[in-house]
Structures are given as structure tokens and as C-alpha cells.
Chain length 164, copies 2
């Protein structure tokens, strides 16, 4: 490993040996800044939170409703987390739960009409915020960035084999 590092440096050029780390920190920084700004605006303008917005967005894409499990795997969060989020959204009238007709263990969660309307308002604002934060990039830059992130995604996925 030490040897490999030494050899690699000879090819590393101007960015030096910490290039991958710096790339990761920059990626993290961009994501965090955008996410924080979105969170803050959701709170200030809609008294909402990002996790709840994400639940509503998932339900908006599934008009026939989703089970709790489908919701948690779609959002990549734990089951217990979804339980708590849905409880709060139900309390506020944005979603409704009904028993699954085919499986008495499962519940189907759906947007209420009020929740759907509320979500549509927030989604439009959210869309505008993201657009505004990207205006500094040309169309071509966005396309290349999109493709490179796709390549990164593949690279990450390819590394997963060694520790499940």
C-alpha cells in the first residue's frame, strides 16, 4: 500500500495524492449545501421537512398508494423511520392509511387530496430552487456532470463486493 501510493504519485500530476479525497469532499460539500438550503426553505416557506417531503414525493408517484415497506425501500430509510414519518403526516392530514385488502399485515398509505395539493405547491417551489442553483452551469456542463456522476455511481457499485 505504501509502495502503491508512492508509485501512483508519479502519475498524479498537479492534483497530488489526495485527489480522490478532495473529490469526495467537494462532492459532499456541494450536496450538503444544496440540501441544507432546501431544508431551510421547506421549513421557512412551508413548515415542512425534507424527509416528509420525500415521503409525499414517493406517494405522488404512486397514486394507488404504497405499503410501508415499499415506501421505506423506495426512500432507502429504515422501516421504523417510515412508521414515524407517516404517523406525523397522517396526524397533519397529508396522508391516509388503510388496511391492505390482500394482506392483513400490511397497510396502504396514500396521499389525501389535501396532501396532494400541498405537495404540488411545494414540488413546484422545490423545482425552481434546484433550477436556480444550477443556472451557473451551461447545458453542456450539466450533461457532462450528469454522465460523470453516472460513471461514479457505477464505480461505487463495483466496489461493493468485498463487504456486502
Amino acid at each position: 500500500m505504501k509502495l502503491a501510493t508512492t508509485i501512483r504519485e508519479k502519475h498524479d500530476g498537479a492534483l497530488g495524492e489526495h485527489m480522490n479525497l478532495r473529490l469526495w469532499l467537494r462532492l459532499l460539500s456541494c450536496t450538503m449545501v444544496i440540501e441544507k438550503r432546501v431544508k431551510r426553505r421547506l421549513t421557512e416557506q412551508f413548515d415542512a421537512t425534507l424527509p416528509r417531503f420525500d415521503v409525499l414525493a414517493a406517494l405522488d408517484r404512486h397514486p394507488d398508494g404504497m405499503t410501508m415497506g415499499a415506501l421505506s425501500s423506495s426512500l432507502l430509510v429504515s422501516n421504523g423511520n417510515v412508521t414515524a414519518l407517516v404517523r406525523l403526516l397522517e396526524r397533519d392530514g397529508h396522508v391516509a392509511m388503510s388496511p391492505s385488502p390482500s394482506d392483513r399485515r400490511a397497510s396502504i398509505v396514500r396521499l389525501t387530496p389535501f396532501g396532494a395539493t400541498h405537495f404540488a405547491t411545494m414540488a413546484e417551489a422545490h423545482h425552481d430552487w434546484i433550477d436556480a442553483m444550477m443556472t451557473g452551469l451551461s447545458r453542456q456542463q450539466r450533461e457532462i456532470l450528469f454522465d460523470l456522476l453516472g460513471a461514479l455511481k457505477l464505480s461505487i457499485a463495483g466496489e461493493d463486493t468485498n463487504d456486502a
Copy 2:
């Protein structure tokens, strides 16, 4: 806004009008996958957490110690959060707090020798994990990605003026 969207679509080509949103979701996805993997490995291999690792990393870059405030602004987290993290790290012997000689309100936090050694071990592993997740990208791809993320950072910063 609707008009602008309509006009823009004519130039949007294959990626469609949701391009910015898709770009953001892909950015978020890459970051989340890497972060989750790092968190899991820190837990499994070192019984550590990412926030504590970040505190140690900041202190490692400041051998003379940092105040709580410097730490929280460096990590972009709240003061109260740093208080809790440092308390746990102190309990485990990784950091030590001493009163500031010049300001009786402030405390200086430093790595202990044990904390520094422990951090060095984790940092090397962390570095290797990041390297491994980037291997699917060529050197040139990494450079372009790094630069585009820099441009994105500027774009985001340029959008900040309209709401504090």
C-alpha cells in the same frame, strides 16, 4: 416562469425539462451511497461514527487546538451539536479540553496522543475506501468531475443572495 420553462424546453434535447432535478437526485444519490458505506465501515471496523471522525479530522489539522466555536463553524454544524460530540470524545479519551488562557468563556479542544493515533489509523482506512470507490473513473474523468463540482459550487453560491 412558465414561459421561461416552455422556451427552455426547445433547447433541452433528450434529457427533457427535469434535467436539473435529475442531476440533483443523482448527485444526492452518489453522496448518500458513499456516506452510508463510510458510516457502516466506521461502525463495523472502528466502532466510530462519521460525526466524531469529522471532529477528529478537524482537530488533526489544528495541532494547537480549536475553540468549540471554531470547531462548529469548521464542520458547519451547530454549537450544541459540537458540545455533545466533544463530550463523548472526551469521555472516550480521544480529545481533551482546557480553558482558554485569553477568554474565560472559551475552551480549547485538542487531540490526545491516544486520539491522534486512533485517528491516524482510521484516516488511512478511510482514504483507502474512498480510493477504492473511485477506481472506476479514469484520471481525466476525476479531474473533469472535480472541476465541474467546483463550477457547481460557484453556481450555488451565486444563488444565495435572494434569501439570506
